[in-house]
Symmetry: C2
Subunit: 382 residues, 2 copies
């Protein structure tokens, strides 16, 4: 059973004060006593009570995450970054889910605060939107960093410029000579998730002087797809969404005349759904339909053909989020100004768009630098 400091002190015939001093490594302890204490401590397997400690010092050494459902792999990876980095720095992590609604966010933050977290990382799309609810908690008294940009509010954040990424992806097709380019996105059209993608896509088209054809922009959604006779789609909930959307969007877009020759996909998983639809339709990728994904998920190297995609350094983003947060918590950053850390992405060229075409700093996979885990420093490319 687990002893408390008092009991240990008693056993050793010393005071709690002295015990505490050796516990925190204070030099103000007799060498002999210290050794005796340390020995006993080891054999007793003392486990400090953090609740008591937190209560006393007013800090818990734990970080809170206001998180989304973790189904999407990219979120999982971000979380890994957060967890490992926090652990390295001696912090625990506790998650509270939120669906992004105001009530849910409020409940979540309250929950975290009640745990006395020292800071909060916001990972959902939640606070990224109109986010009046954010204001309410801004002065929860705890530092917050968002893993997506919060535009209408002052807040530290680390983000990837998704619009720029999708502009780049679209431009890649354009440089290849494609004129009829589709975009497959899904779910609420007003979510930042699709807004940014659409924006980048349109921007690339505009810059190239290619007229925007709304027929090439496919918004898949459970309700729409449910109405269609779509094989493979039996449950249209989160886990399936990306694949299903890609699958459905591809079927849909191939009905357009003239037919698009390239499809920008919201994610690698979306591209995989698209790939399947193309296969079933007897379309060759990239010859009949070129595909580009987003995420550089591990699997994108193993599809046939392997996916050209944009790398999103998820692990790194999680890592940076806690670093920025800890700078605030531990007082290394006292500036009023918010940190807005843009994480660079890079285009990873494989085969789903046709033969390698290298341009402005993009790396075909063969020459890509060896990656060191997910922590890989991404080659800058903005």
């Amino acid at each position: 059973m687990n002893l408390k400091q008092q009991e240990i002190a008693d056993r050793l015939g010393i005071s709690r004060g002295t015990l505490h001093r050796v516990l925190v490594g204070s030099p103000l302890v007799n060498k002999k006593t210290r050794e005796r204490v340390e020995e006993e401590l080891k054999s007793l397997n003392y486990i400090p009570n953090r609740a008591a400690r937190s209560l006393k010092v007013g800090r818990s050494m734990t970080l809170g995450i206001l998180g989304p459902a973790r189904i999407r792999m990219s979120n999982s990876l971000k979380l890994d970054g957060v967890y490992h980095t926090a652990e390295e720095r001696g912090y625990s992590v506790i998650i509270s889910y939120s669906d992004g609604s105001r009530e849910s966010d409020e409940r979540g933050i309250k929950h975290l605060l009640s745990h006395m977290v020292d800071g909060i990382i916001v990972m959902g799309r939640g606070l990224c939107q109109p986010s009046d609810h954010f204001k309410a908690y801004q002065d929860a008294g705890k530092p917050i960093v968002s893993i997506y940009p919060i535009h209408d509010v002052e807040c530290d954040c680390v983000f990837l410029d998704t619009a720029a990424a999708f502009e780049r992806m679209t431009r890649y097709f354009i440089e290849f000579g494609h004129k009829r380019i589709g975009l497959a996105v899904f779910m609420p059209r007003t979510s930042r998730f699709v807004l940014t993608r659409e924006q980048g896509y349109v921007r690339a088209l505009e810059k190239a002087g290619i007229p925007f054809d709304p027929g090439y922009l496919i918004y898949a959604s459970p309700s729409i797809m449910g109405g269609e006779e779509v094989p493979y789609i039996e449950s249209l909930e989160a886990a399936d969404m990306d694949y299903a959307a890609g699958f459905w969007a591809t079927r849909e877009i191939m009905r357009r005349r003239p037919r698009p020759t390239a499809l920008v996909c919201a994610s690698d998983d979306t591209a995989i759904g698209a790939l399947r639809a193309a296969n079933l339709a007897g379309l060759r990728v990239p010859e009949d339909l070129a595909l580009i994904g987003y995420d550089n998920s591990t699997i994108s190297r193993y599809t046939s053909p392997p996916l050209t995609t944009v790398e999103q350094p998820n692990y790194r983003m999680g890592q940076r989020a806690v670093e920025i947060l800890l700078d605030r918590i531990e007082g290394r950053n006292t500036s009023e100004k918010c940190i807005n850390e843009k994480i660079p992405f890079r285009l990873v060229v494989r085969e789903s768009c046709g033969a390698y075409l290298q341009s402005s700093g993009d790396v075909p996979e063969s020459t890509a630098p060896k990656k060191k885990r997910a922590r890989a420093k991404a080659k800058s490319k903005g």
Copy 2:
């Protein structure tokens, strides 16, 4: 800023005792007082301090997870099950990673205990092995449930009989008429991960009277694969392991003479790696090489051909783990006897093994019951 009970009581001119009574919904409070208090509470946005509460009552309403790195999607899904269920029941969750080594497990459990968790869920392979370290913590005084079976120790657990699953998978090939069947597994041969798979595979062979050919059993490992010239394998760490192993194993096994006609894969991701290797080698699946996966991951429906696989009800397992744990924590289960809950799996027949062949309760996808999210009650099949 966040008020404490004392301050609120003062504002209202009542005692902490009374405040507390309305907070916990005790009937021993004057109606008027109660209303007044509740109103004030709402407007003040009171956030209770759980550290103080935990300290006082000796319970924290939080569950600890001794977890593996979360990279594998199936773990992510299990965690989802744990989180959502815990949240529904009013518990928070905190994770501590462990690589499965004794030191790491000890550190992790200690960490959780120091958070005063009310119970622990063990998710890694860690404690599933020789697990002398488990003994050390068995009487940490907290209930523990393992999400894999711990054979040599008394402990509640929920598990899927992996050996039975792999026996079933192998038998499926046998029923199809295959005689030369390979098994692609990886990493430490002594891990329960491969032991169970190998065992099931061999058992099916034995029962069918097919001689076991060690040459058909491929153990991929980073070191082995690193020596080979294996494209796609640039980082052989966890994230890539499944794919890379499947890729490498397929190349390897196709060198065997006579060539196997079917390959049992350690996971769906392994099967996907295998599929890619087969594609590159110009082998048709399933005609030249039949493939079966394990997990029924979402993507297995979107590969070409879609994967026949075994469904592992991850979400459900996480869910059951917390239910069993809470029964213990909340005193509904005081039995000395350990719970050993075997979660049923089912074979999901798609196309990677050839035309549909239905047998003993297996469900071809077309007739599979509509799945309700990951929570789906799996059709019994054991």
